[in-house]
Amino acid sequence: MIRYVLFLILFLLFILEGSVFQIFAPDQFGVPYLFTPRWVFLIIIFAGIFRGRMVGTVYGIIFGVMYDVIYMSVLGVYAFGMGFIAYLLSISIPIFQRNLIIAIITAVLAVITLDYYVYGMMLLLGITTVEHAEFFNVRFLPSLLLNVAFISVFAYPLRKGFYYLRQKQEEEKKL
């Protein structure tokens, strides 16, 4: 049971991002900035750092596929991007685990890479014609702010949760 908790949390956040957050999103009330939540991806990177590269990559691909199928008109963009970036940045060495600031920076770096990767793909595929200055000011910076705020708040409880998970699994193994 305990191993499904991570998946359930990610799935819940996935639903929150697409359904609930969009109803209350600031741009729905006339704010000229777009806030793109990347909460699922932030937690996937944390999972990669604390639970190992394999976990991060697999979750990255699973939720990437869900993003593609449900929200996008082209398939594969998120599945590849989230999987690959999660693979690259799931650096599960003790320094990253012990030092929360480094873990947060890694996760934010992953989100920045993903945002730019997706923007590039959308330009390449002709889905959008938004120019870089507009992308940077209207979409990128506000989203970055939102995501940094999110991960700063939840980084500490997340680490606790992952340590608890590891402890539980070790106990299970001993039994």
Partner: protein, 311 residues
């Protein structure tokens, strides 16, 4: 760092990129219907999404109601002043309706482009990254939704059905930047002026109404409605009002900016429109040689039509 990109991993990466390109190519095909794994994922996630959306919409609606309470008095005054006009309008409407009925009956017209049926659906998601202006609704093929049906709110047209799954479907809003996102429309004036609604203008947020005849005389404030000539849309669904217009870059046609009457934000319930008239076939004249229509068939058709109208 050697473990990062060993030979084996490089090959896996390469294969992944090939799969990515193949998937993109496959999904960029415009005539594609959703494959069953996609339908399975969208439907099962959609079920959870509707469970979450419903209370969220309720909460959002509650706050909106509180907002509305603040300007209740002013609205009431305006409504009262409108109410006087309403009675006269109602009489006129009844008169015109009766007139119209008589005339259509005498002409024996059975199908019309502006007859349609409505299904209402709940908005269950919206793309979080906003590169596509897509929303998801909780009705799908099982409820009779088909690709390309018109979708509107009570205020006006908002888009068309993009993908249909069994229990959910995706709506492409008029504001989507996709090149294939165009809708045949005309200006509601004395002589109809036809054109296409094509995407959104980035700076102003208004819809672009293109391919208007260069000689056409358009005015600011005229309303733009669907023409019903594009195939599946019924005619005379309100899209918006003309804000400005100019000759296009080659001087061969005009382009107008249309302010949509519907709000693309804060969508909760939307209406999916199915056109009543199934095809654009002209009335077959029984006098033409080679075409024979039996009396019985005609009577049957009339009977079914009458039933349809009554229900």
């Amino acid at each position: 760092m050697q473990s990062f990109f060993s030979n084996k991993r490089l090959i896996i990466l390469l294969v992944c990129i090939i799969i990515l390109v193949a998937l993109i190519g496959y999904s960029m095909n415009e005539r594609r219907t959703l494959s069953w794994p996609e339908q399975f994922i969208t439907d099962s996630v959609g079920w959870v999404q509707s469970a979450f959306s419903r209370p969220a919409h309720l909460v959002a609606g509650f706050f909106e109601n509180i907002n509305d309470l603040q300007n209740l008095y002013e609205e009431n005054q305006i409504l009262k002043s409108h109410l006087d006009e309403y009675a006269t309008l109602q009489v006129e409407l009844n008169e015109l309706r009766r007139h119209n009925e008589e005339l259509t009956n005498s002409l024996d017209i059975k199908e019309s482009l502006n007859r349609y049926s409505i299904r209402s659906a709940l908005v269950i998601h919206r793309s979080p990254d906003r590169w596509n202006e897509f929303i998801g609704i909780n009705k799908g093929a099982q409820h009779g939704i088909e690709v390309n049906m018109a979708v509107m709110t009570s205020k006006g047209l908002i888009g068309k059905i993009q993908n249909v799954s069994q229990f959910t479907s995706t709506v492409q809003l008029l504001s989507d930047q996709d090149r294939s996102n165009r809708i045949s429309a005309f200006v509601d004036s004395d002589d109809s002026i036809y054109g296409f609604i094509e995407g959104i203008d980035d700076e102003t947020g208004n819809l672009q109404f293109t391919m208007i005849n260069i000689d056409a005389e358009i005015e600011v404030g005229q309303s733009v409605v669907t023409s019903g000539l594009g195939g599946i849309f019924p005619s005379e669904l309100l899209i918006g009002e003309i804000v400005s217009f100019e000759a296009d870059e080659f001087g061969l046609s005009q382009t107008a900016l249309v302010k949509p009457t519907a709000d693309f934000n804060q969508l909760d319930y939307v209406l999916v429109i199915e056109r009543g008239a199934t095809s654009l076939e002209p009335q077959i004249d029984p006098d033409i040689e080679g075409v024979e229509i039996e009396e019985d068939e005609l009577d049957e058709e009339e009977a079914t039509n009458d039933e349809g109208e009554e229900s």
